[in-house]
Structure formats: structure tokens, C-alpha cells
């Protein structure tokens, strides 16, 4: 409830760039996240418990701010879909890479969301952000009034506006480019996830083989039996190493490039939504112009007012949008670069460690008595 938002200073009292989610607690279906932020004054930290519904509360508040000109031009940091402790296959599929790794990637994605909101010059002025990060009570769970940002509620005919020709080349180019990138990124993220899932299957298969080899070990004094048993145990250790290697490879994939592609994909979608809002406003403006032109004298003044107001809104949105797009271009390249570098470095390290391990095994076998 809006009344629950205390009167606080408009500036955020904590640092935005180093907000951390330090823990996730599963209680049946519900997941609770522990969020730690550093006070600006340097005198300590805030620790708060939040569920996904609280995150959604925050997001709704951001969408429904009333006194911000050009708010619709903001590329809103994307919030990951709701996760459940006992997630169905459908939800897991929707979450993609975020559904793996015991919720660690999911926490990272939520963390990124908060950091992006808290460092956004327009959004971090919203009191809801301060409440979310610092209030020891859970923010109110009541749904905020229906906001204009809920795409699902948009009528089907509104979707046709997506293709509406733009008046500005800069925005038309951006829209076209976004359309292509959104598709490509989504596909790349999906294919990447397929790879990771197969890597996990290989790890499991190696584990099974390793365990089955242990069953070949037989007790007995017979020296030939003992020799074969010893060999089976050692081969089992090789497959165990292979399992560890594959598990690391999959983990590295998820935690670096997987997260990166997922974030990029959701961010492209967020930009798409912003561009769509602007397009809708453009259509609204063009309609208002037409109405003003065609209006009968008695209605003319009212129509002109509407036209002027809509024009102002549109210009404000365009102003904010240009800045957001410029910022977005810089941030996404940096983020992808980081993801690719980290990915490469981690996989390189894993490959080197595995090489050492396999080498040790090889030497041990070569050294075995015939």
C-alpha cells in the first residue's frame, strides 16, 4: 500500500553498486532472499528478508510513479520470473539457466536487478527502493493499481502498433536492430542452455559408470582377482575425475556466459517494451493531431489541449529514451565482455586442472606392475 511507504529523503541511503544477496532460504514452495546493502554513511549495513512477491511490489511501484516526466522512456531493469521452491517443469523451462545451480544464478540475477534499480538516476529516487532495501518489515503485499506497463493486458490490436512506421530515423533503426538482436539472443541463450543440460547428463553418466566399476571389486585372496579389482578401482577414479571436470565445465558455463546471455536477453526485451511504449505514444500523438485538425469548432480547443499535452509527453519520452538507449548500448557491451572474459578464464582454469588430474591418473597406470 502506498501509505506504507514512509516519508524518507528522496535520495537512497545505501550504495547501489554493491548490493548483495547473501543467502536464499527455501521453506516448502516459498523462497526468501537475504539482501545486504552498505549504508552511504559508512556506518554499517542493512540486512533484509524479501520474497519474490516483494520484488514484484517494488517493480510495480517503479512502473506506477506518477510524477516523473518521460517515465515511459525508461528501459526498466528486468525482473526474473517468479521461482518456486518446488518448481514445475514448465517454470524451470521458463527460468532457463536461472533454474540451475541451486538458485545461485537466480540470486545473482535478482542481485543484478537491485543494483541496476538502485543506481538508476530516475528510478532510485522512488521511495519504494529505500523501503525495499532498508525496512525491516516486509513491504506491503497489496497489489498496486493496474499499471500501464503490463503487456499481457494490452489488447491484441495494440500489438499491431509494433510495426508502426517511425518519424525518427534514430528510433526506427533502434527498433529494427532490437527486433533482430532480441531474436538472436534468445536463440543463443536457449542453445547454450541445451549444451549445459547435456554436460550435466554426461557428468551423471560418468558418475554412474564410476559407481558400477566399484561393483566389480570382489573380495578374495586370489592375486589375479585382486589385480583386476585394483584396476577397477583406479579406472573408477578416472571416471570420477571426468565427472568432476564436466560438472565444473557446466557450472562455469552457467555462472558466466549463461547468466550473461540470460541478462542480455531479458534486457533486450525490456528495451523492446520501452520502444513499444514510445511507439504507442507516437500513435496516440498522431491520432490527437488528426482529431484536433478534424475537430468541430466547439470541440477544437479541447482537442488542441489534448494534442499539446500528448506532444509534450511524447517529447519527454523521446528525451529519456535517447539517454537510456545510449546508456544501454554501453552497459550491455561491457556486461557481455565481462561475461565472455570470465567464462574463458574459468574454463581455461578448469581445463588446466583437469589436465593435471588426468596426467596423474595416467602416470599411476603406467607405473602399475603388470
Amino acid at each position: 500500500m502506498m501509505e506504507e511507504v514512509k516519508e524518507v529523503t528522496s535520495a537512497l541511503s545505501v550504495h547501489g553498486h554493491n548490493i548483495k544477496i547473501t543467502d536464499v532460504v527455501k521453506d516448502g514452495d516459498a523462497l526468501t532472499f537475504v539482501i545486504v546493502s552498505q549504508k552511504l554513511s559508512g556506518t554499517g549495513e542493512y540486512h533484509v528478508d524479501r520474497t519474490w512477491d516483494d520484488f514484484e511490489w517494488l517493480q510495480q511501484h517503479l512502473f506506477s510513479q506518477e510524477d516523473v516526466p518521460g517515465l515511459q522512456g525508461v528501459i526498466f531493469p528486468p525482473l526474473p520470473a517468479k521461482a518456486s521452491g518446488n518448481a514445475s517443469a514448465k517454470i524451470m523451462k521458463q527460468l532457463g539457466v536461472l533454474g540451475l545451480g541451486e538458485w545461485q544464478p537466480y540470486c545473482k540475477a535478482l542481485e543484478t536487478f537491485l543494483q541496476q534499480v538502485a543506481t538508476h538516476k530516475i528510478l532510485n529516487k522512488n521511495k519504494a527502493v529505500e523501503v525495499f532495501l532498508t525496512s525491516s518489515d516486509a513491504p506491503g503485499r497489496q497489489k498496486v493499481k493496474k499499471n500501464i506497463f503490463n503487456r499481457l493486458s494490452q489488447a491484441v490490436e495494440e500489438m499491431r502498433k509494433e510495426g508502426h512506421k517511425d518519424v525518427d530515423e534514430f528510433f526506427q533503426t533502434e527498433r529494427d536492430h532490437n527486433l533482430v538482436l532480441t531474436g538472436c539472443t534468445k536463440t543463443a541463450a536457449e542453445k547454450f542452455l541445451d549444451m549445459v543440460l547435456t554436460e550435466q547428463k554426461i557428468a551423471v553418466a560418468c558418475g554412474h559408470f564410476s559407481a558400477a566399476l566399484h561393483l566389480c571389486v570382489e573380495p578374495g585372496e586370489d592375486p589375479d582377482k585382486k589385480a583386476f579389482s585394483r584396476l577397477c578401482v583406479q579406472i573408477s577414479e578416472v571416471f570420477d575425475s571426468m565427472k568432476k571436470n564436466m560438472t565444473s565445465v557446466a557450472e562455469n558455463n552457467v555462472n558466466t556466459l549463461g547468466l550473461g546471455l540470460d541478462l542480455e536477453s531479458r534486457y533486450q526485451e525490456a528495451e523492446k517494451e520501452m520502444l513499444f511504449r514510445r511507439t504507442c505514444k507516437l500513435v496516440e500523438l498522431e491520432n490527437a493531431r488528426r482529431n484536433a485538425e478534424k475537430a468541430k469548432p466547439v470541440k477544437k480547443a479541447a482537442m488542441e489541449e489534448v494534442k499539446t499535452a500528448t506532444q509534450t509527453e511524447f517529447q519527454q519520452i523521446c528525451g529519456v529514451a535517447r539517454q537510456e538507449i545510449k546508456q544501454f548500448h554501453g552497459v550491455r557491451v561491457k556486461m557481455l565482455q565481462q561475461a565472455l572474459v570470465q567464462w574463458c578464464e574459468k574454463q581455461l582454469l578448469t581445463a588446466k586442472e583437469s589436465t593435471d588430474q588426468f596426467n596423474q591418473h595416467l602416470q599411476a597406470f603406467r607405473g602399475m606392475a603388470q
Binding site: K191, T198, K201, A205, F209, A212, D224, V333, Q337
Partner: protein, 343 residues
């Protein structure tokens, strides 16, 4: 009751005449865990006792072990028994020999090193050895089938990974060409190339899994079938011997009937048949001993070869695995500067 002093208690019973040969029925009681059963028996001829001594003294004598000697051969004493001379001296002879063999065997099994000797084990437990080995073959067959299925599953997943990697490579290439930031676009194209190379690595690894492992295990499943076959053949040879003994017994009964019915002309034929079957029984028993010994040697050889072959394959497998990893390192090291160059 088991005497505290002896961990294996031996008793040798009076000899039984089976065919032309006297067999001693030897009974054993033990609490030693290395034996399959707590009590077991085996039938052995005098020559088996002598043969055991020969093997043990050859193996352990040179190392300074005192190998207990068996009683000596006595042709005169044995001939009297064979001829059926029922007098106190041949009864004495039989008892002296029985006791001597019992004490001989008891000394051998009391010796802490000799009891471990595989020839002693085989002497004592012959049929048990074959039963145990057959069971091992059965369980090895089960285990190998399971292993084979698991390797096949691994191969399927690797091939799947190869396909997934190719798919991802394609999608990365498309992303790279859609990207307008030059450095990022270049890096993504390089990434697509790296992933293409990895696809090949995964395929090679799948082949490695198949040819180093799956095929080897499949071979051994077939080989185990052959081992089982040799055990079956041994059983057939044993059966032939048993059947011949039964036939010999029938012929003897026929002779007895003819003697009682006083038919001298048919008696001659009966005596000829008895001689024929006695020869067969002796021959078939020798065959069984021979086939048994061969199967035993073959099984031991099979097990040694098995270890050798698996060891050789795992080394090949590891070498290939290492090659893959080293190749992977090269690819990552080449890509890293590309990733860092994205501004």
C-alpha cells in the same frame, strides 16, 4: 568338534574302489574364512597325494620350507589289496596307509604357508573351485553388461553435446553478424569458430568412449560366454565318466546274475564287457582330470589377460582424454585476448 590346535581338521576314510582305482574319501572341517564351506569333502587317489607333494616340494623346497612327505608307494602292499586278499596284513596295510595319508594331509594344512598354496587349495576343494569360478563368471557377465549399457549411454550424451555445440555455434555466429559493436561482433564470430572446433572434440571423445571402452567390454561379454562354454564342456566330460561308471556297475550285476544262473557261455561275453567298460571308466576319468586341469589353467590365463587388456585400454583412453584437454586449452588461450579486446 574342531580341535583348538587345528584350523583345518582332516579325516581320510577307507578307500573305495571306483573302477580300477581306489579313491580315498577325504573330509575336512574348517573355520577358516578362505574356504567356501565349513565342511567339505573330496575324493582323491593315492597318486593325487603324491602329485601334490611333487608340486609343493618343487615350489617351496628351494626356499627352505620343510615340505611334509607322503607315505611311500608300496607295490606289494597295494597288489595284495587289489587282488582281494582278505588277510590281516592287507587290512593292516590299508589302515596304515589311511592313517599316514591323513597325518600327511593334516601336516600340510597346518603349515601356514602351504595352506595358502593354490595347488593345496585345489587339492582340497576341487569342485568348490570350479563352482566359485563359475559364479564369478556369471556375476562378471552381469557387471559387464551393466557397464556396457552405461558406456553406450555416455556415448549418446556426448554425441548429443556435439550437436548442441554445433547449434550454439550457429546461433553465436548469427548473433555476431547482427551485433553492431565491432569488437563484440568480432569476438562473437571468434566464439562461433571456437565452438565449432569444440564440436569436433566432442565427436572425437565420443569415438574414444566407443572404441576404447564399449567395444572392449562387448568383447569381454562374448569371451565370458566362451569361458562358460568350457565349464559346460568339462561337465559333459564328467557326465560321460559317471555314465560309464553306472554302465560298469550294470555289467557287474549282469555277471553276478549269470554266475548265479550258471550260464557259462553268456558269462564269457559278460566278462569281456566288464573289461571294456573298466577301460572306458579309466579313460574317461583321465579325460576328466585332463580337461579340468586345462580349464583351470585357461581360466587363470584369461583373468591375467583381462587385467592386462583393461589396463592397456584405460591408458589409451587417458592419452586421448589428455589430448582433448590440451587442445581445449589452446582454444581457450587463443580466445581470451579476443574477449578482452571488446571495448
Amino acid at each position: 568338534e574342531l580341535d583348538d590346535k587345528f584350523e583345518v581338521l582332516v579325516s581320510v576314510k577307507d578307500p573305495e574302489k571306483i573302477g580300477e582305482v581306489y579313491e580315498k574319501h577325504c573330509a575336512f572341517q574348517t573355520t577358516l574364512p578362505m574356504f567356501r564351506n565349513k565342511t567339505f569333502t573330496v575324493r582323491r587317489r593315492f597318486s593325487d597325494f603324491l602329485g601334490l607333494y611333487e608340486k609343493l616340494s618343487e615350489k617351496h623346497g628351494p626356499n627352505g620350507f620343510i615340505v611334509p612327505p607322503p607315505p611311500e608307494k608300496s607295490i606289494l602292499g597295494m597288489t595284495k589289496v587289489k587282488v582281494g586278499k582278505e588277510d590281516s596284513s592287507s587290512a593292516d596295510f590299508v589302515e596304515r596307509r589311511r592313517g599316514a595319508l591323513e597325518r600327511y594331509l593334516q601336516r600340510v594344512v597346518n603349515h601356514p604357508s602351504l595352506i595358502q598354496d593354490p595347488d593345496v587349495r585345489e587339492f582340497l576343494e576341487r569342485e568348490e573351485w570350479f563352482e566359485e569360478k563359475l559364479q564369478e563368471v556369471e556375476s562378471a557377465d552381469q557387471q559387464f553388461r551393466k557397464l556396457h549399457a552405461l558406456v553406450e549411454s555416455l556415448v549418446i550424451h556426448r554425441k548429443e553435446l556435439s550437436l548442441n555445440t554445433a547449434s550454439f555455434a550457429k546461433s553465436t555466429a548469427m548473433l555476431g553478424s547482427a551485433e553492431d559493436n565491432t569488437a563484440l561482433s568480432r569476438a562473437l564470430s571468434q566464439l562461433a569458430e571456437v565452438e565449432d572446433k569444440m564440436e569436433q572434440l566432442h565427436q572425437d571423445q565420443a569415438a574414444n568412449d566407443t572404441f576404447s571402452f564399449a567395444e572392449l567390454i562387448a568383447d569381454y561379454i562374448r569371451l565370458l560366454g566362451a569361458v562358460r562354454g568350457s565349464f559346460d564342456h568339462r561337465m559333459k566330460v564328467w557326465q560321460r565318466w559317471q555314465d560309464a561308471q553306472a554302465m560298469l556297475q550294470k555289467k557287474r550285476e549282469t555277471e553276478a546274475k549269470l554266475l548265479w544262473a550258471n550260464k557259462p557261455d553268456k558269462l564269457q561275453l559278460a566278462k569281456e564287457e566288464i573289461a571294456e567298460w573298466e577301460a572306458k571308466v579309466t579313460q574317461y576319468e583321465r579325460d576328466f582330470e585332463r580337461v579340468s586341469a586345462t580349464v583351470r589353467k585357461e581360466v587363470v590365463r584369461f583373468e591375467k589377460e583381462k587385467t592386462k587388456n583393461f589396463k592397456r585400454q584405460i591408458i589409451k583412453y587417458l592419452e586421448s582424454l589428455l589430448q582433448s584437454q590440451q587442445q581445449l586449452i589452446k582454444y581457450w588461450e587463443a580466445f581470451l585476448p579476443e574477449a578482452k579486446a571488446i571495448a
